[in-house]
């Protein structure tokens, strides 16, 4: 009975019902879009970090990160590297020799990190080949080839084909200088890293460092992000002498950014919900006041107060239930469209985005994992905000209400 009455009441004043429904629809769309946008930005940032910068995991000698001294090689690096292929979770791994160096040209110098890489593995792990904007990749059997970032190239006024000299200390503390020729210039989404990292063939660097066939770093890419902790645990047990770090350890600022944005999006969600709540509260309160006579009559005719309370509640619930699927569908369609087509944020300035390691093309991602939470919050907000109007309806004195 109450159900039917509530249903009819909704249809009695269509514009009011539509306003409430629309508020819920807009609230949902807004909330989900904001979450989707932030999720998209963060997923893309995390993907960039994993696929182009740090990989999932890195193995070093325990002391390597303290001073980046080239003598801290991974002992028996090659057998360690071979043994990694037995873990099914590991997609691909890349060995690297790493040394801090000065890059010197006729007119200036800059501090860089020289990465000695094996092209076939490096291309797979950090996508170096795809990042190359000018020139080609490494050639076999050519030793003095170097790939540098665009940011560094601009700063030092270097072009493909330019020669430069790199100076560093080898594993026995001798100062070594060697000439390299730029065969390619790469550009990733992260300017500061582009300015720091240069790539040379590992064999060439090892000969200069006198580290033989050993190297300093293994970067590991997994088949799935979910295996991160598990594989990290396994490797830590297997190689207790080495440090096994995940991307979260290596790039704490990315993890920090993801967490901050999570916090941000919840605050935004709460503000939207409060606005939604006031909208519903006002409208329902109005609708109760409008029906003072009617409600007074019902009470006078013996309708119990709990039923009246239920009536107001049900009206809101119906409207919410009607609004939710619409809101969700529209929000899904919008995010899905941009998820496939990408949302171009280059209006914010490409340089700015790059300096924070973001791609300008954002692919918002429907926040499935937060969906239940959002729905509970929206429906909860709707119900809570109609409690006051419902209580108001209860307090109406039938006689007084009828008198008006």
């Amino acid at each position: 009975m109450i159900f039917i009455m509530a249903w009819r009441n909704i249809w009695r004043n269509k514009s009011r019902s539509i306003v409430i429904m629309l508020s819920i629809v807009i609230g949902l769309i807004a909330g989900i879009s904001v979450l989707a946008l932030y999720k998209g930005m963060m997923t893309s940032r995390v993907r960039t970090v994993i696929d182009a910068e740090t990989a999932h995991l890195q193995i070093h000698d325990r002391d390597f990160k303290k001073d980046y001294h080239p003598s801290f090689i991974l002992k028996n690096a090659n057998s360690l590297f071979q043994s990694l292929s037995s873990l099914p979770e590991i997609k691909v791994a890349a060995p690297r020799s790493v040394v801090q160096a000065m890059l010197i040209t006729a007119t200036g110098s800059a501090g860089v990190q020289v990465n000695g890489v094996v092209p076939e593995y490096e291309y797979k792990v950090s996508g170096l080949k795809e990042k190359i904007k000018e020139g080609e990749g490494f050639h076999d059997n050519k030793k003095n080839e170097i790939i540098i970032g665009r940011k560094l190239a601009e700063k030092m006024k270097l072009k493909t084909g330019s020669k430069l000299v790199i100076t560093f200390t080898d594993s026995a503390d001798n100062i070594i200088s060697s000439a390299f020729r730029i065969i390619a210039i790469y550009q990733s989404d992260n300017d500061p890293l582009d300015e720091l990292n240069v790539y040379v063939p590992m064999q060439a660097l090892n000969e200069l460092l006198m580290t033989g066939n050993d190297f300093h770093e293994i970067a590991i890419l997994l088949n799935s992000d979910e295996d991160l902790q598990k594989v990290q645990q396994i490797l830590m047990k297997q190689f207790p002498a080495f440090s096994v770090e995940s991307w979260k350890d290596i790039s704490p600022e990315t993890d920090f950014m993801v967490k901050t944005v999570d916090e941000y999006s919840y605050i935004i969600m709460i503000i939207i919900l409060i606005a939604l709540a006031f909208g519903i509260l006002n409208t329902m309160l109005m609708s109760v006041l409008e029906r003072t006579r009617e409600i007074g009559m019902m009470v006078a005719l013996g309708t119990s107060r709990s039923r009246i309370f239920l009536l107001v509640l049900l009206e809101t619930v119906f409207l919410t239930i009607a609004g939710t699927p619409i809101g969700l569908t529209v929000a899904y369609l919008i995010t899905d469209y941009y998820h496939t087509h990408g949302l171009n944020l280059s209006g914010m300035g490409e340089d700015m985005m790059a300096s924070f390691g973001f791609n300008t093309l954002i692919y918002p991602s429907f926040p499935w994992e937060k969906l239940a939470g959002i729905m509970i919050m929206v429906i909860g907000t709707a119900i809570i905000s109609c409690l006051l109007p419902a209580a108001k309806a209860l307090r109406l004195q039938p006689v007084e209400a009828l008198r008006r």
């Binding site: 110098s109 200088s177 060697s178 020729r181």
Partner: protein
Amino acid sequence: MLFIFSCIEGSTQDAKEIVRKADEKMRGNTSQADITIKTVRTGWSREMTVRTWMKGHDLALIIVLAPAKDKGIGFLKRKKEVWNWMPSLEKTIKLPPSMMSQSWMGTDFTNDDLVKESSIVNDYEHSVTGDTIIDGRSCYIIQMIPTPTAAVVWGKLIVCIDKKDLLELHTRFYEEDGTHVNTMNAYDVRLMDGRLIPTRFEMIPVDKKNQKTVMIYKKVQYNRPMDDGLFTTERMKSLIE
């Protein structure tokens, strides 16, 4: 045909030989010199006197004699490494690679110039490209292109060497794209310790106005016997007391 070949061969050989001889002339097997170095900048200039010992390409020692405040500061080069002795701190430090491209004692020379193992004979391909006259002396113009693997930042050097006395009187340093970066001029050719050498050198950076470094040789001694033991940090500390 054979004749033409040998001719070209001959000319590159000659160019290398000329540079080698000029280099040898300035260095000797060993040398000890007192040099005044003047750093000229917009608005100020600074002068210091150093005593240098050199043996071959690998060993060198520089001790500051004046001004009084810096007296006793030493730089020791062994192969590619440079140690710096600071008498006021009683401390020797080894210069890290990051310092190599920095200015040496505020001059237009870098620390790297001290260490430079790169040899103007072995690290370049030489060819005579013409001749000219400098200060009334007839000179070869020799173009020097670094060999592909040489750890040299320059793209090209143009050197003018006196034909008769084999004196390096003028050098220009170019980047690979042809930009002229530095010029080194040599003047005041004198007989020092039985050798005819230029005694005043000026290093002039092209893109910086009113800026240069002048080196004047006050005293030089060539080919005196020199013990390798001289080139140690211990000896560096005790040479000037």
